[in-house]
Symmetry: C2
Subunit: 323 residues, 2 copies
Amino acid sequence: MDYDFSDIRAYIQVVENGGINAAASRLNVSKSQLSARVARLESELHVKLLHRSPRGVALTDAGQRFYEHMRDVLARMQQAVDDVSGEESGQIVGSLRIAAPMTFGTAYLGPLLYAFMREHPALDLSLDLDDRYVDILSGGYDLGVRIGRLYDSSLMARRIAASRRVLVCSPEYAQRNGVPETIEDIRQHDCICYGSASVAPYWQFVPQEEGEAPRQIVVRGRVHLNNGESMRDAAIAGLGIAALPMFIAAPALRDHKLIELLPESPLTADTIYAVYPQTRYVSRAVRALIDTLVADFEHTPPWERDNLRGKPNTIGSIDVKSR
Amino acid sequence: MDYDFSDIRAYIQVVENGGINAAASRLNVSKSQLSARVARLESELHVKLLHRSPRGVALTDAGQRFYEHMRDVLARMQQAVDDVSGEESGQIVGSLRIAAPMTFGTAYLGPLLYAFMREHPALDLSLDLDDRYVDILSGGYDLGVRIGRLYDSSLMARRIAASRRVLVCSPEYAQRNGVPETIEDIRQHDCICYGSASVAPYWQFVPQEEGEAPRQIVVRGRVHLNNGESMRDAAIAGLGIAALPMFIAAPALRDHKLIELLPESPLTADTIYAVYPQTRYVSRAVRALIDTLVADFEHTPPWERDNLRGKPNTIGSIDVKSR
DNA sequence: CTTGGGTGTTCGGCAATCGCAAACACCGAG
DNA sequence: CTCGGTGTTTGCGATTGCCGAACACCCAAG
């Protein structure tokens, strides 16, 4: 286990620069040194790592694997250093790769992240927004945001907020078609559904009494979309009633482009989670960011903070029952 | 990122030997060297790792974490070296930590492992036998054996064998109480059940016709045990009918201490899996061992081989030559 | 067929670095 | 107060690492 780590670093540089000469000039060291280092490393490992030819070097199979292994080790080492350094000053150093759904990411996670980064100037951050399912582990992410159910037991999860969902339609639609007075009335309406048309769409409401099973109704979907913002736009366009997460619907509600229906019969809420790989050591950056997320979102998330709750849902001449 | 790795190794040695002096004498280097190395490391990390006093050294908080991180890194590095070295000669070097259930482990896994180790002399191995659920990930295992259902989605799994189960009782019991002619008849008998008495025990048989649901019967349990070998012994003692994995029942069947009942109505079979953590690189040792397991067990596992239905509890010898 | 420019490898000599041992500073137990 | 145990500092010696030039090699272009 007593390999000269400089040899390993030299090898990595040779690989990444595609040759001994290139690496030597880039690092301002002599090529003889690099040549010797790689040779020594090979003799210690009893494996040829590079095929040498006058045309350059090519990785052997073992060389390729060893290189990738060592990239891993180096990254792991960097984590260790990050974790430990800046300990005294309390500042957080390192890097953070985050995956989150589009809408939530742009609207709410982003702003919070930028504030977080201002607080921690030595922290690098990369945010990947994608509505598809992303594999946190194999994607090499440090943190992910999941809305709804958790499928992946191999991740740690922390609840960061409830995502209340609301029934909405456009004022124009309400004027034209009337509004449902009861849950059952919804069956008479066109609904904007999430997902493909092949699965029967149903909406689920919180039970009237504590302990009862949630009430479900199967709705008739004219439009099926797999994107929350598209659903919101379809609702604004008057295509029907949609069940939208509050964090998507909130701005449109505030601008009276959408109105809330059946507010006394709330839909069951989703939960928003922060998920992260279960490793022996969770970096201080991840811990701190999760804490910030929870602190900001747990009780009253920003999309619930608007002043739209108190306003009468009165649009034009139509009085839509509120309460 | 360009820390002198010797400094880190020195630090680790100091920590593990509990002091600079002790480490120095154990490594046959001067204490001045160690002192300087640790000091330099600290200055590079901008963190105090050790509290020095004339009474010895004590780890700071950061020092503790850094030490543990580096243990991790070193282990990871050793894996890399193991993976790559011995590549040419085809031999496998490294170490392997395995977890498996008691009975399966002693009777069938053990013998195979010892043969495997003879094939790979440069391989270290540790086998933990435990019937309780062991967490492969947090336990730091490289490989585990699971029988029945898989609960942990964070592990990779490979099917290594079917575990046929059989209904058995002692000849004496059969003489005394008669034998069931149909599945329904079982209800008239005393049964030896797995698990606690609080859950209704049921046995499940493969359906008569392809595509049907399995037939289940709830049995009456006089004896409840949570260990396969105890169940076998109880059955031998004539306490009733038991549903046992073939790999437990086989020797007793061969010695006519148990007889098989309703052989034309087989119980649904379990599956035996090899499970291992999903890391970017699965070590060659793990891959090779799984391949060996599959090769030996997949088609006709030893407990289904007539000539081996004797004494699988005698470790070693027999099974080895049958390879 | 020759030659030039690009590989990576080898060699000799210089010197910086590393490492040791001894001396030093410190503190608590006896 | 002294002794025995820490870890730290210092000065000197030489091993080690390093560089640059010369070398060997091969392909491609002329």
